[in-house]
């Protein structure tokens, strides 16, 4: 069964350092997303991406964040200068069609845990 894969599974970094989280969406999917979940809290939307540009982003997704699809398979989330409050589980997701369409089901990866010290 196709799945979304994420690397690394866990990254520990120092405050102020740059972090890149990587995702390989399901191969025929066209819409890509990043969500995050602070420990014990609900999952929060960060950004959606389609056709090589951001479709929507939340207030959390400030200038410190960026996304990129550098090749035909990877989708990355970069945090330029990490803060303590960026510590969370970051989930990548992909869908075949946009939300609200019949085949717009989101498939989530297992997450990358980021710990900022």
């Amino acid at each position: 069964e196709p799945e979304v894969t994420q690397t690394p599974s866990h990254q520990v970094t120092q405050m102020g350092q740059e972090v890149i989280l990587r995702c390989v969406p399901i191969s025929n999917h066209l819409y890509f997303y990043w969500y995050r979940q602070i420990l014990g809290q609900k999952v929060e939307f960060l950004v959606s991406f389609y056709n090589n540009e951001i479709s929507e982003k939340s207030e959390i997704f400030d200038d410190q964040f960026s996304v990129e699809r550098p090749d035909g398979s990877n989708f990355t989330l970069k945090i330029r200068s990490t803060k303590l409050e960026d510590s969370a589980m970051y989930f990548c997701a992909s869908s075949e069609a946009p939300r609200g369409a019949n085949t717009g089901e989101l498939f989530f990866g297992e997450g990358s845990r980021l710990t900022v010290l």
Binding site: V4, Y31, Y33, Y35, I38, L39, G40, Q41, K42, V43, E44, F45, S48, Y50, S55, E56, S58, F91, A93, P98, R99, G100, E105, L106, F107, F108, G109, E110, G111
Partner: protein
Amino acid sequence: GESVGLHLPTLSVQEGDNSIINCAYSNSASDYFIWYKQESGKGPQFIIDIRSNMDKRQGQRVTVLLNKTVKHLSLQIAATQPGDSAVYFCAESKSGYSTLTFGKGTMLLVSP
């Protein structure tokens, strides 16, 4: 000290019981609703969805009920099994928008 954000509502049931998990959503303009299951250390997994033109939808062992009048969503799990133990999130969305807004989650604990 107090652990902020770790106090999830918890539903404890016995194996074989039926479980009902409730969710109140916030946006009256939302027209698409999904239930996700999240096991420890994993990403959310789609269970079942429903559009606002329906008030009930059934899947395998699961039923989702939507009450738009009071903005309430429920997930019913029949014959609950230990493998159903997880945190369950409802999520809402509006057609034409990518964003899924997740609820706070309910932990379901199933005892054998």
